[in-house]
Structures are given as structure tokens and as C-alpha cells.
């Protein structure tokens, strides 16, 4: 790992305007928006894997897509290997994409049904000016082998393959340009249990073989624990806790993290179950609660939680939490 900043995301925001219906009865200024990603800040060191977890609608996928410039950001900064991604335009951006790629959740819909495996994996090379067809073929064959697919599959269509094999095709496509950053958006959640492990192992193998840095987005905490070095939790568009994997799983701070960890059913009938379950639903991002967004469901909510937004604070050792509980604790220490 070098001292140079690899990826730094700062105050990233993505607000989706909400359509008011056919007749715009309210004046323009007061139109509401969904704050899908609200003031998200984190960084990833080279070679590191950051797991980004949260429940559906928390903004984790949107964060991944905004930082890869697949969705326009509302504001913020994404600094990647010496350049500001959010200010890149047109051809500049297109060329920069060689450095960062994405692995998609749906192994079915993310591969063009009209294309053969060979063409799918080769396409990024074409787009980035590898003109010689034999060279492209050689690199595609090499990459297919690396992800554990037979080169005889080149001329077959993606729909002929199972979910696990299709995800391997998707991984080959993402890696063929030799990017350094991979955003993997729920890459195994659509797969069967017995195939999931194959793909997780492959992702880890590829990480060491090609020196990759992952932003690993998932809702499955046990998968994230297995693959990540650090973990961040999002709730309603904000990161509420971020820390090293062991700190996060062994010494979680935020009450929401506690609840998440307690909710995961484990294949161990002898484990003592802590019946720490949250009441209520995730609030609508259209109308998030005042103060800490988690306070209506939080078993430890107190007075400041409902009117003041807690800020992320360093609790030592790179373990950050956004919760008023620790705010007071920390001031006491100081």
C-alpha cells in the first residue's frame, strides 16, 4: 500500500427529484427529493476491500453507481488515483473507465442476450482501442481461463449458461481492462448457496492475482465478513458506522449495527439467540425522520436523537460511528 490516496469519496450526495404528478400544483422551489445518498464520506486504500452493507433502499447501490459515474452525482467529490472523477467529461471520462469497473448483481440481465460470450468479454477491449483481433482473442481466452471458464464457450450465447457461469462471464468482462478498482454490487446475492462460494472464492483469487481493490456492496453480512477488510453500514443514505472488520463484527458500536448482526440467522442451532430485534419498518426515504434517521426504531434513542443529526466520530483505530451515545462518551473522555 502506498501513501498516495487511492479512492476518497467526500460528502457525496445523490438526490432524486420526486415528480409531483401531471399538474405541478406546488411551486418549483418546494419540490421534494429523495436523498438516496446523503453526505457519504469514506476512503479505500489500494488493495483493500471495503464492504458496504445496509438494507434495501439505504443507498448502497446508488453510492456505487454514483462513484463510478453511472449516475450523475448531486454534489461531492470522488478522488481516484490522482484525478477528480466527478469533473471528468465525455471522452476523458470514457477513457478513465479503464481504471474502474463494475460487477453487477443480476447475472442474467447484465449480459446482452444477443451477444456471444466472446463478444461480451471482448467489448471493453474494442472500446478502448485494442484494434488487433488476434490480440483481443488472446486476451479474452486468457481472461476466461482465469475466471474458470472453458475457451470453447467463446461462441456460445450467455443464456446457455447457469447463473454462476454467467457471473464468471461478468467478472471476466470487468477484469479484461485490468482495472484497479472494482465495485461489486451484490455479486453473489442472485446465486444458489452452493455456487455462491465458488464465486466468492473466485473474487478473492482475482483480488490477489490482479491486485484489485474492491468496494463490495452486499446485504449479506456473513459474505461481507468473509471478503472485506473494513465494513461500512448505511442507513437511509448515510454511513452510520465504519471500521475494521474485526472491530465491526466483534465490537459493533451503533445500535443499528447491533440489530443487523443479531438479525442474521446462523446455521448453528446451538448458538444462543439474542432476541434483539428492531420494531417497525425502514422509514420512507421520501420523508426521513428528523435528527438521527434511525431514532424511531432505536431501542436506545434519547432526547438529542430526534432533533440533531449525529456526526461520524472516530472512536479510535479507524472505527467511526454516527451516534449520539458515543458523542457524550467521547466528550467525557476528553
Amino acid at each position: 500500500m502506498s501513501d498516495e490516496i487511492f479512492l476518497r469519496v467526500r460528502n457525496l450526495k445523490k438526490h432524486f427529484p420526486v415528480r409531483e404528478g401531471f399538474l405541478r400544483l406546488r411551486p418549483r422551489r418546494t419540490r421534494s427529493s429523495v436523498k438516496a445518498v446523503d453526505d457519504v464520506t469514506f476512503s479505500i486504500a489500494e488493495g483493500e476491500t471495503l464492504g458496504l452493507v445496509g438494507e434495501s433502499g439505504c443507498g448502497k447501490s446508488t453510492t456505487g453507481k454514483v462513484l463510478l459515474r453511472l449516475l450523475p452525482a448531486t454534489s461531492g467529490s470522488v478522488f481516484f488515483r490522482g484525478s477528480e472523477l466527478l469533473s471528468l467529461k465525455g471522452e476523458e471520462l470514457r477513457k478513465a473507465r479503464q481504471g474502474f469497473q463494475m460487477i453487477f448483481q443480476d447475472p442474467y440481465a447484465s449480459l446482452d442476450p444477443r451477444m456471444t460470450v466472446g463478444r461480451i468479454v471482448e467489448e471493453p477491449l474494442r472500446a478502448h482501442g485494442v484494434k488487433s483481433a488476434p490480440e483481443r482473442l488472446e486476451r479474452v481466452a486468457e481472461m476466461l481461463e482465469a475466471v474458470g471458464l472453458d475457451t470453447s464457450y467463446l461462441r456460445r450465447y450467455a443464456f446457455e449458461f447457469s447463473g454462476g457461469q454467467r457471473q464468471r462471464i461478468g467478472i471476466a468482462r470487468a477484469l479484461i481492462l485490468r482495472p484497479s478498482l472494482i465495485v461489486a454490487d451484490e455479486p453473489v446475492s442472485a446465486l444458489d448457496v452452493s455456487v455462491q462460494a465458488q464465486v466468492i472464492n473466485l473474487l478473492m483469487e482475482m483480488r490477489s492475482r490482479f491486485k484489485l481493490t474492491y468496494l463490495f456492496i452486499a446485504h449479506d453480512l456473513s459474505v461481507v465478513r468473509h471478503i472485506s477488510d473494513r465494513v461500512a453500514v448505511m442507513y437511509l443514505g448515510r454511513i452510520v458506522e465504519i471500521g475494521k472488520k474485526d472491530d465491526f463484527f466483534e465490537r459493533p458500536l451503533h445500535p443499528y449495527t447491533h440489530a443487523l448482526l443479531a438479525s442474521v440467522p446462523e446455521p448453528d442451532p446451538l448458538r444462543e439467540r439474542t432476541r434483539f430485534i428492531l420494531s417497525g419498518d425502514v422509514p420512507s426515504p421520501l420523508n426521513p425522520p428528523e435528527g438521527c434517521a434511525f431514532h424511531p426504531r432505536c431501542p436506545r434513542a434519547a432526547e438529542p436523537c430526534s432533533n440533531r443529526l449525529p456526526e461520524l466520530r472516530d472512536m479510535g483505530g479507524g472505527h467511526w460511528v454516527a451516534c449520539h451515545l458515543y458523542e457524550t462518551a467521547q466528550t467525557k473522555i476528553i
Binding site: 453507481k65 463510478l68 453511472l70 470514457r94 477513457k95 473507465r97 479503464q98 469497473q101 463494475m102 453487477f104 448483481q105 443480476d106 440481465a109 447484465s110 449480459l111 446482452d112 442476450p113 444477443r114 451477444m115 467489448e123 471493453p124 474494442r126 472500446a127 478502448h128 461478468g170 468482462r173 481492462l177
Partner: protein
Amino acid sequence: MKLGFFLKRKVALIGFLFIGLLLAVALAAPLMARIPPQDLNPANKLSPPGGAHLFGTDNFGRDVFSRVVYGARTSLTGGSGVVLFSTVLGVLIGAVAGYFRRTEAWLMRLVDVMMAFPPLLLALVLVSILGRGMLNVIVAVGVTYLTRTVRVAYALTLKIREEPYIEAAVASGVRQFAIVTRHVIPNMLSPIIVQATFTFAFSLLDLAALDFLGLGIPPAVPSWGNMLSEGRMYLTRAPWLLIFPGAFIVMTVLSFNLAGDVLRDRLDPQLQRNIEGV
């Protein structure tokens, strides 16, 4: 596409057979028609079907069978021309309008304006500006079908552009133009082909109508529309002048519609619903 599937649908099979037969007839017209279609024989005018003249002769003594056979050539050429023109241009415009949102507003409003004209009237106006002749007629009729194809292609593009594989292509750094040509257009082809078969069927009727009105192909060229137009004066005296070209128009249009229905069934029903919603 599997042959077995078509075999199961006997009615459709008849349609496909007729289309095949028609194609063969049109290609082999000089062999099929022993009497050249332009040969005048005033001595033998308006003779009923039978004998040397299978379908009889017209008011100039021309062989109706030969003219129907050569008319198949004209009709198929005309229909193919209209399909080619409206599909190629329509897919391009629709895909561009659907994918590049900046072009969308004015392209689609232009199409809306064109759709406000009654199609045949629009074709009539265009022909009167461009003049008669095969190419001009194809363009005139093609323009009226262009708008429909544009709308279908546009609707399909709006759907396809949201597919994850398009996002994946963007993420790989594929150029926008390549995304349209390599991903968007290939993925809309099946419904577009269905649309094309219907366009073919309906354009035959329009081409015939233009001919019938005397605004299509020059009267000397044998076409089913021209034959109807000329034969209508002899409706009672020589009904075969109308029956044969008329029957061929009906059979051809019907066959293409049947073929289109089968192709439509082969497609994703959801895509189909989107097209019908246009």
C-alpha cells in the same frame, strides 16, 4: 426459429406457403408467363378465362395471367421497398430519439405531426410532389409507415436503455454510438421484424390504392392496383379483370398478416404488449 413450431400452426403454414409461392412466381415470372404482359391483341380482347388465356384477357387483349404474375413482381418489390425504407430509417430515428434524450423532443414531435395526417392523404401529397414512378411511390408510402416504426423503435429503446447490460456497456467505456448499434438495435430486432411483416401487408394495400387512383406506378407497368383500376369499367362484362388481381391482393395481405401473427407469438409477450401500447 424451429420449423416444427410453424408446422403446428396449419393456418400460418398456408400463409407461409403462399408467400413462398408468390416469391417463386415473381422470381420466375418470365418462365411462368409465356405471353409477355404488354402484348396487345385487340382481336382477342375481354375473352373469358380458359384455353390459351388461363385468367382471360383484358380490354386491350393482354393476358391477365401474365399481368398478375408480373404484377406480383411489382407488388413484392414495392412492399419490400416500403418495408426497407420505413424500417431502416425508422429504427435509426427511433433508437437515436430514445437513446439520446437531447434529440428526443424535436424528433418525436416531428413524428407526432406526421402522424396527424391521414396516411393515404400524406402519400397522395408526396406523390403529387415527387411524381409517379416506383421509387417515388415507395418513398411516399414508406414515409407514412416510417412514423409507426419510429414510435415502436422509440418505445423499445426506452425499455432497452434501462437494461443492466446497457449500464454494463457504459461502465466498460463503450462509446454511445456503439451502444446504440451494438446493443440497442440488435435487441429490438425481433419485434421490429414483426412490425415489418404487418407493414408489408398494409403497404401492399396502399400501393394498390395509389395505383387504383392513377397516382402510383405508370399504367403500362403491370401491377395489381393498375389492373383493378383499369378493370373497374368492365365490372359486369368481364369480372375476371377484378377477381384475379383482387384475389391475389387479399391472399398476399392475409398471408403476411398470418405470418406476422406467428412471429409475434414467438416473441416475448411483454415486449409485444409494449408495442401494442404505442
